[in-house]
Amino acid sequence: MNREIRKILIRHWIDLGHLSFRSVNGRVWIRGELHRIAGVQEELTPSLVDTIFSEMRRLRGIVSMNIELNNWIQSQGGWKPMESEDRTAPLISPDQTKGPRVHDIGPG
């Protein structure tokens, strides 16, 4: 299931480094930010975001999906980009303070 989700994200040029997901018994949790990798000409649109998650929902074995994005929000049945003032602290970011962290040391 995780592999199939990853394949969909890759197909849509989504930057996996800003997202995290897990699946247990057909239940999927996705969190983070949905961005395309740099240099992809076509930007993400509400309908594209909808397409991505629709493709995931159609995967065999999916029971439910819990999506918590920091830069897109579900509104009136569709997705819309979050305005900067609506955004909370990123779920996966350098500013995150929960738990021990592996710091950015060296050239990476």
């Binding site: 995290s20 997901f21 240099g39 350098p94 962290r101």
Partner: protein
């Protein structure tokens, strides 16, 4: 995935390797760490039971994408890129575009950006290799 699964990590920064070693070992993984790309690749060739490779991208001598391409010629295991440089993944690079379309498309490759919290690291590792069993 069985407890004690072997992971190979290649990163030129010893402090990052030490940190990865500590946190992954504490969760039951066996971690082999290499700061030299060639040594890491050699270990990947020699160990048949490696379940996951963690690859830094910007390294002297050989970068993570070069290691990745070489690894894929002899072993098809999940790979997690561990990097501080999101800009490394850009469609402006023909090389990256080729890897993305040809190799990433099979869904066994993921990316984590430094710095990261440990829970995200485990989430990504488990999503690649499956949850830990006794």
């Amino acid at each position: 995935m069985k407890k004690g699964m072997k992971i190979i990590s290649i990163d030129d920064e010893p402090s990052v390797l030490k940190c990865l070693e500590q946190v992954l070992r504490s969760h039951g993984y066996e971690l082999l760490v290499f700061s030299d790309a060639e040594e890491g690749l050699q270990a990947l060739r020699e160990h048949d039971d490696v379940g996951l490779a963690l690859l830094d991208i910007r390294m002297p001598k050989k970068n993570g994408f070069e290691i990745y391409k070489e690894l894929r010629t002899f072993k098809n295991i999940p790979v997690l890129f561990v990097t501080a440089y999101p800009a490394s993944f850009t469609a402006r690079s023909d090389d990256l575009v080729q890897i993305w379309k040809r190799e990433f498309a099979d869904g066994t490759t993921d990316i984590i950006y430094k710095p990261f919290d440990v829970s995200t690291l485990f989430e990504k590792v488990e999503a690649l290799v499956g949850p830990m069993e006794d």
